[in-house]
């Protein structure tokens, strides 16, 4: 489907030489900018760029796997941080008033500006005998982007129970922790799932961008850059890395969807 559109657009662009009624088409369609699908697929089995063993497909696969692990770790860290923030903000109204603006503000700092900063701090950081590893910066970046939708979604979910349900728990003399575990958290699940989906997408983007600025090698983000720089003669190769990154996003999304199916199997369909 996508491949067909790609080729159709390319064919059309070639035919009109990238101009329609004097307007430039939004994307170049020459072979350097938009290689044929077959060329891209063919590149997967080509040999790697200088000095590196194996084929392009293998490098893309292992790079994607590397980035996937970093992004998933980042997502998990972001989830824990986001949940903790949401629970604290739900518990203390004052904290919510004081913190929520900063939580929102945290996301307006541009990613590109932030990534080198995190890397810089990280390099100077040392916890006990453990040195900060560059991959930790990548994970940190993922977590930084993922925690936001999760914190906001979780806070909404934790505050979603009706007054009557809260009164019911009060009438049982339930403690705040009991109310959290038996009412607020289960009630938050339908709010959390879309938030985790957003968080997962953000974690993948964060990992790829952070790889570039942290100079961590081995990931698909780095691969995109490498192919850009070293393989100008073979533009199709860059697209193989793009496909790797896209598949990576799909895998993470599929994982979250699987989680959703498990968590919502006993919920009324209308409520979702």
């Amino acid at each position: 489907m996508f491949a067909a559109l790609w080729e159709a657009y390319k064919a059309f662009g070639r035919a009109v030489d990238d101009h329609v009624f004097g307007w430039r088409l939004p994307a170049h369609t020459d072979d350097a900018s938009m290689p044929h699908i077959s060329t891209i697929l063919g590149s997967f089995s080509k040999a790697e760029v200088r000095g590196r063993p194996g084929i392009v497909g293998g490098a893309v696969l292992s790079g994607s796997w590397f980035t996937l692990r970093l992004a998933v770790t980042g997502l998990i860290v972001g989830f824990v941080v986001g949940m903790a923030l949401a629970i604290i903000m739900c518990r203390f109204t004052l904290v919510r008033r004081a913190w929520l603006p900063y939580v929102v503000l945290s996301q307006t700092v541009p990613l590109i500006a932030l990534a080198p900063l995190i890397v810089g701090w990280g390099n100077r950081l040392k916890i006990g005998s453990v040195h900060w590893q560059p991959w930790m910066s990548v994970t940190g970046m993922s977590a930084y982007l993922a925690f936001f939708p999760i914190a906001v979604g979780a806070l909404r979910g934790l505050q979603s129970p009706k007054e009557q349900s809260l009164e019911l728990m009060d009438s049982y003399a339930a403690s705040w922790t009991q109310t959290l575990l038996k009412l607020r958290l289960p009630a938050a699940v339908p709010y959390l799932l879309p938030a985790v989906k957003l968080g997962a997408a953000a974690a993948v983007v964060g990992a790829i961008v952070a790889e570039l600025s942290a100079g961590v090698s081995g990931g698909v983000g780095r691969l995109i850059l490498d192919y850009f720089q070293k393989a100008t003669g073979d533009p199709a190769r860059v697209f193989t890395a793009f496909i790797g990154a896209a598949v990576l996003g799909l895998v993470v999304a599929a994982g979250v969807n699987g989680l959703e199916l498990v968590l919502t199997r006993h919920r009324p369909k209308a409520a979702l």
Partner: protein, 268 residues
């Protein structure tokens, strides 16, 4: 009567937003005693403070003045001791819990062990005549069935007092009459004291030993009507005495409004 009254209100006031322009005198100087084993209904026009009175008794809202005793203790102590169970207009079952787990909620909060919980919740399902629905989810049940589960949940840890806020308000007439009969049966077999808020005059008369009539702005008790219809059955609804009491309550409700108007004129 031996033992302390189930509920004892003396001069209870509740003023929302005191001192602000949107101040509401929800309850003014309410005296009400409910003896153990009694069934008392609160009736009155919307906004007269019925729910507020119930919440103050349940210690879900602090009173602005006056004193409240439940089973001879403070309202707070009674709440901590699980002396009452509550039911609301919406059944309010937790949709992520099976029916049986909903009934077990108060038992979990009291720390009962699993076998005691499941034995008791099965028993409660029998009591509300839904034994085969324990493993369903709440949204698979009709409104009336959900409300019965909510009552089972309120009764689960066997509190001596039931506080009910229009529990049948959202049900259709047929289901409603059926539920009323069920509630009288359950209360008779478990010797409960009940404070019951309703908008329906026949419902109040059918269920109660006493009907407390309230009037709004400020919320207060205007009349208390004793009802003595003997054991309730379907025939009770055709009884002459039943209709007489309905008329009496209706006139008390009207009188409350007329009285308020008359006093307004007098003050001027």
């Amino acid at each position: 009567m031996s033992g302390p009254a189930a509920v004892e209100c003396r001069g209870v006031c509740k003023i929302f937003n005191q001192g602000k322009p949107n101040q509401v005198d929800a309850l003014i100087d309410v005296d009400l005693t409910v003896e153990a084993g009694e069934f008392v209904s609160l009736i009155g026009p919307s906004g007269c403070g019925k729910s507020t009175l119930l919440r103050v008794v349940a210690d879900l809202l602090p009173p602005s003045g006056g004193s409240i005793a439940v089973n001879g203790k403070t309202a707070r102590q009674a709440r901590l001791d699980f002396d009452y169970g509550m039911a609301f207009q919406q059944a309010g079952l937790f949709e992520w819990r099976k029916v049986i787990k909903n009934i077990e909620l108060p038992m979990e909060l009291r720390g009962w062990d699993r076998s005691k919980r499941s034995a008791r919740s099965r028993e409660m399902l029998e009591l509300v005549k839904l034994p085969e629905f324990g493993d369903n989810y709440p949204w698979e049940l009709s409104g009336g069935m959900q409300q019965r589960i909510a009552i089972a949940r309120a009764l689960a840890v066997d509190p001596p007092l039931l506080l009910m806020d229009e529990p049948f308000g959202a049900l259709d007439e047929m289901t409603r009459e059926h539920m009323q009969a069920e509630l009288t049966r359950i209360c008779a077999s478990t010797h409960k004291t009940v404070v019951f808020v309703t908008h329906s005059i026949p419902e109040a008369v059918y269920l109660s030993n006493r009907v407390v009539v309230m009037s709004p702005r400020p919320g207060r008790i205007t009349t208390v009507i004793n009802v003595d219809l003997g054991e309730r059955s379907e025939d009770t609804r055709e009884d002459g005495e039943f209709f007489k009491k309905i008329t009496e309550v209706r006139e008390a409700l009207r009188g409350g409004e007329l009285g308020a108007t008359a006093r307004g004129i007098e003050d001027r």
